[in-house]
Symmetry: D2
């Protein structure tokens, strides 16, 4: 089942560490992080806190973990959060807001995962005892189910201002924040200035084997650190994994623009295939959402046939598939991807 | 603050027991229900179970309690339920699905609280570990925020069939089930046949001081009974309150048609007031939703001015108010209500 | 199954309202308490708050409910409470601290449910991320499983001082607080001065069909009121039940000394039966714990045979039974109870 | 803050990967474990499942995580588990049973963490609605707070039989299971035969940077895998860390007997210091609990002074300290440890 010759566009999580990254991991200085003594984790936490302009940071095992650490730091049982209906936190974290914290999700009907401050009007709850208490507005940048769109700085700023003026906290699920920064032209720090907590992932576009980071104020990070322990996310000599993240911040951020160019190139070519359509102006980073004409058949079937051609992608609902470019997809394999899409699209269903 | 002369249309929960009901309460035979020995509660549970065609029933303190007993019987932490976005369970129960059980609400965008089976297509979750596990479809009948509409039997039957075919349970929040039956012409038993659990309320249109009932299969009711105890809903000589429910089932069900006629009469009169509009075909039971023209001002202000005229109603969002007819609103006070609406509508804002 | 001729000593919860109490219930002035407009509930809340020397009070359906409202007001998920291992809150509330709030119980090994401040030494947790965070010390007065003992004022005062000096809250489960006051000679107000929150029950010694009360500071009671709603404990025209409590506070407090005298009388008589033994100095209120000699057989069997003699009591573990005197046990039936114990004790075990 | 010259006996978690282990990590074959495609994780899961004689295994980030995955697989909110009062699960996992699952801990008063089947008699709860429902008996082997004692096979077998006969599950927290096997002479498979689920840790005596494993039946492991994802324990190219575990199972299990010999040697020497005492017959593996005479002063002070001598240990309550031998403590540094203890013990308090 290992991918000899296959082109894996299912997710940017599938990247494997390069020889250079493996060397850095092997040589990492480590200590017991449960005693606060892993020098590489400490260095990484400090580095990311500075980079995103926050007081403190906590290393975590995954993006779900860092998001849920944030929610546990912000909320109590019976509270609620406002977030787009397509959010990873609502859609892909196994109902963790409810299951881990007793927190209700109130959904906003944004466009491609991006919403406007005026859509939040009237959504604050909690003065009445019939209602849960609104505590946080969550923003995902880039939007995963929304097709990898970066939030415009201005739109986010307005949402954050609206929230802060009403004493709500703002959490950013920045699993692909660096993709957003590359595409939208703001720095991580500029964007994060308007957020109270931000989580980022090292295991997606940045190419690390694992790891995430949550940043925020010192008291919030103390709460988040406890939450990490509660979830069993406290690891010992985590410095080996943290070393890969330090390496990635140095070497794999700038190059995200290549993933974006690859995605663009693929989108434009695939959009010309008659049975397929793509909202090209929504393709801004490394994700492409492709709609399959109902006449052709279902996304599940398309995914299956593509796999026979050696190209892996994910079904994203009944008629949509998602592809994702990344570090392990060099430019020269892109034509083969287009060919595979053409072959499958041209084949008759069943 | 007691209502001398005021006409209270805020909710059908405001009804007060009549002298006859008080007499029945005073004379009720009682025992300790925590030992299963309250004869009046036992009689009421048996009566309602038969009436709704289910094996067993559990008396509860309130509609929130009976709904949450049902959810706890059906679900575990990490599960999810499907329900209309305007549902009482999602909107007015303080986020209890998440806060009490760790259960996520996935919302359906119905019309006036009523949705179609085909809208559920593709909503079942849980095969993938990123997702919570879908367990229950909830239906509210009549729909409170939806303006008191009764579910058509056929529509409910299709939803329930869809759910059962996929091994989901069906729960009915029937806080105003008897209103629905009166208006739509089906019997409680006919409607409940398609449901696994149903909760009904005695403290709304039926005019009791308190009390609810949950019905379902014997094993589910055993789980629900435990949940009731957990929530502190186990009461001792509850037979006094149960007696009021037995009385209400005898005397206050048939007369709900008067409340509906009163609501209809008010709706038609108030709809003619220029600054106000009402979706008249949605007025089917004892609830009327009135929209206030933006030029006039906000619902909050309208409610305030109406109160000065001695008429109490509730704001239901920024431009809407809800009024609710009930046992304590005799037909002869209706003209005074219309006058109050006219006076306030005609008054300039500020 | 109704008790014709049987003497029911299982619990002081089995009392049934007297004709006089029924009359008061029937005539109670009521309103919708969810709008804060039930005058009798409002009067009762004010009365009890004053009586116990606290700012505010919230009426609840049961003792479990008022205890859990207190815990939810004091604690968040991941916190812990310190309480005696025999406590009702730990033992008889279905694991509600964990199940409803995510709160851990750390147990103190007191004597008959009463512990000393020095036993708490070293028990405060939470500076280390491996530990849950200690928030509350709970005291039960009188102790139910401890045999109805009243806390000495001095012992409680020392525990409360210890807790407050360490920024812990003190909650009193005063389901039988008035029994404690009668027996120990302090007033409710004197005792409650050292507590942050106190719950009392109307449905035990006071003889009401249902109802409890939680008292404390205004902000804590606002939190508790929300918790009541979450648990489905919000009732509408609850004034009828509140009226019984007002009546009971007037007429049924003083007379608890009769229950105590009856329990004492029974204990002394029953202690002389060879197969049975009683720690007589522990019998201070209306509860008597009787130990059955292993040679005779089990408590379950003893309870069963007693029932055939028309006397109902509860097994309390393998070799113990508990009996409880109350309002519905007049002094003249006590000899019959002793006879029944003698008869059963003398009978050989199967 | 890195330990040049210091001897770190605080925990066996402080071990750092050796050059050889680092090489294995660097060369590990990896894939995306969220797609089930990390070959090294798959190999490790299979290897450990076989080794412990179970159908399936799930790799986890930490011992807390694998324990809590097990509890979530076994229990629902409102259930309870039976375990020794000194258990890691109760004491050092931040109240996770309550906080994550709504599960209550009922504590057994064992000896050094080891209890007898007959102590469980009468502890099963749940037939009565006042009680939480007993589901699991947990056993820790070796016992951490109990001083590293291994469970005798016979004692465990009796406990497990008792539990299974009553339809309870048996979970073993085997964070130091291999230490137990070394010391007690049974194989992991022999011991685990009596358990339903077992968690083991790679980051303690085995010397890995991180990682744990849970084993059990296939359906339970499917539930546990979901729980891992919920806690944010799903990592991507985890094979690098899994490779260290495969290496450790090969090279670091046999050598645990050296740690035990070192602990024994230290215990016997330190026990002769007048101000200190050790229960020598309890020293069976790599943990030594040392009691400090009250006249000398507190454990906190002793730990502080030892640190000045370059020896790190942990306070374990007011008068006790724990030391732990491990892979990074070669035999030739042991005399220096004894000297440090002698020096500190001889120094007067302040
Ligand atoms: Ca990766
Ligand atoms: Ca009413
Ligand atoms: Ca939710
Ligand atoms: Ca009673
Ligand atoms: Ca280690
Ligand atoms: Ca607990």
């Amino acid at each position: 089942m290992v991918n000899v010759g296959r082109i894996d566009l299912r997710s940017d999580t599938v990247t494997r560490p390069t020889p250079e990254m493996r060397r850095v991991i092997a040589e990492a200085e480590v200590g017991d992080d449960m005693f606060g003594e892993d020098p590489t984790i400490n260095r990484l936490e400090q580095r990311v806190a500075e980079m995103l302009g926050k007081e403190a940071a906590v290393y975590a095992c995954s993006g779900i973990q860092s998001n849920q650490m944030a929610l546990r730091a912000h909320c109590s049982s019976g509270d609620e959060i406002l977030l787009d209906g397509s959010s990873h936190i609502f859609y892909y974290e196994q109902g963790a807001p409810a299951a881990l914290h007793g927190v209700t999700c109130r959904l906003i009907d944004g466009e491609g995962g991006i919403f406007r401050a005026d859509q939040l009007e009237g959504m604050i709850h909690g003065h009445d005892q019939h209602e849960s208490i609104t505590k946080v507005v969550c923003v995902e940048n880039t939007t995963n189910r929304g097709g990898g769109r970066p939030w415009p700085l201005q739109a986010f700023c307005e949402v954050a201002d609206w929230a802060h003026a009403r004493h709500l906290a703002v959490h950013v699920d920045g699993a692909r924040l660096f993709n957003a920064c590359q595409a939208a032209g703001y720095s991580p720090r500029e964007f994060c200035e308007f957020a109270d907590t931000v989580s980022i992932c090292f295991s997606k576009g940045l190419g690390c084997p694992m790891g995430s980071m949550l940043v925020g104020s010192r008291p919030m990070m103390a709460r988040a650190r406890r939450a990490r322990k509660l979830f069993g996310g406290g690891i010992r000599q985590g410095g080996m994994m943290a070393a890969s993240a330090l390496y990635a911040l140095e070497h794999n951020v700038e190059r995200l623009k290549d993933d974006h160019a690859h995605a663009r190139w693929l989108a434009e070519k695939i959009a010309r295939i008659p049975q397929l359509s793509i909202d090209l102006k929504a393709v801004a980073t490394n994700i492409v959402i492709i709609e399959i004409a109902q006449e052709w058949g279902t996304a599940d079937r398309f995914v299956e046939l593509l796999q026979r051609e050696g190209v892996l992608v994910l079904a994203f609902g009944r008629q949509k598939i998602r592809l994702c470019t990344h570090l392990d997809i060099p430019g020269d394999c892109l034509p083969r991807v287009v060919e595979a899409f053409q072959t499958v699209a041209a084949s008759s269903y069943d």
